[in-house]
Symmetry: C2
Subunit: 214 residues, 2 copies
Amino acid sequence: MAYQATAKTAAKKAQKYEKIISVTKKQIAQAGFSSVSMANIAAQAEVATGTLYRYFSSKQALCTEVFCKYTDIELTLVEKLLNAKNVSPAQKLTTAIEVFAKRAMQSRHLAWSLIVEPLDPGLEAQRIKYRQAYCDIYSKLIDEGIKVQQFRPQLSSVSAAAIVGALAESLIGPLSILSSQPTEKMQEQKVNQAQVISNIVTFCLQALGYQQQH
Amino acid sequence: MAYQATAKTAAKKAQKYEKIISVTKKQIAQAGFSSVSMANIAAQAEVATGTLYRYFSSKQALCTEVFCKYTDIELTLVEKLLNAKNVSPAQKLTTAIEVFAKRAMQSRHLAWSLIVEPLDPGLEAQRIKYRQAYCDIYSKLIDEGIKVQQFRPQLSSVSAAAIVGALAESLIGPLSILSSQPTEKMQEQKVNQAQVISNIVTFCLQALGYQQQH
DNA sequence: ATAAAAAGTGAATCCAAATTCATTTTATAA
DNA sequence: TTATAAAATGAATTTGGATTCACTTTTTAT
């Protein structure tokens, strides 16, 4: 009597769920959150619009799911690097920035959507939570660095926010020379990704008062 | 025969125009661009919605006008400071940041709207132009500083973008401890505006490789 | 095979503002 | 004072998706 989803059916359902997520991610990576429409996603996922609502209560719920899924991956990764044992704060920061930057550059459009695309309030609230999380872990790192005198004494939460902003704007935002066509400014200025990353690493380390060892 | 607006009428019209602008600015300063609706503004300006369209071709045109008017004031001010004669690059940067920060803090909500509130694409495009302008003048300043060896050699456009991002995030964005209730974190951490500004000035100077003189 | 439960469908509905425009009011010039 | 131009009005229209829901199809348990 009682209807009980069989393994096969449950799997099919899960598959459909994943397809919706992945299709949405693809759309966001190609043209940003602003390009996501339910009709749009439904077509790509090969379901009816009504079906989407059997998996996600609203467009915002769908977008939030995707946003969190992919933002979380990056945050967790950076978190791990900053929790490494027997690595100095300066070294951890260097690695964290390098990893974050390289990954963002490999998925430039997605990174733009996740980090700087203007979003509506619901999603923006999520983004703020993640930025705050980044800020918190960087803040801790700075405190650590102050304690071992690798960084100068400072308001760690202010400096942490500055680092988050500096990374976003210089690597991903519209001011990043990396976001102009690779052929344009970068070639003209003979700049490559590695140089940009190295520049921003030095920028951050020195900002915190780290004295380069020779 | 030919209708020619008399001085009095022209003045009245100009007054009405200003009133629309000022009412819109007030609305933005109180609740952001997202709270602006034509009905809303019309009511506050004591005109009919249709009348707004005799002054501005669209909502976006109105918002853009206000956005540019107030953003331009700040940009011009900072530009002047950076063009000062007989002032070292480091000193100019210090002053520019201090002035920018103090003014933003005095008009916190407006600054938030102008600098970090998520906007729709039309306005966001305007904002990017201004950010680029800031980036350009900071970039020039950095080049100047490199030349006189106050700053280390670096990719000035990358560092300039980083500074723009750092200022926005640490002073105005949601991560700024100044944007939480003044009573909250700031008192709890015994932090005041001056300390935050001083922190961010040092952050930027050192980021560029400036060596504090004793 | 059949009935009940769940899943899927997509055309129709809803919605909130921006924008329009036929009409009214005000200003100008003869 | 009157005819014409400009300005102002605000109710009605438009719009672009998100969301709904009556109906169909598929799955499950007997």
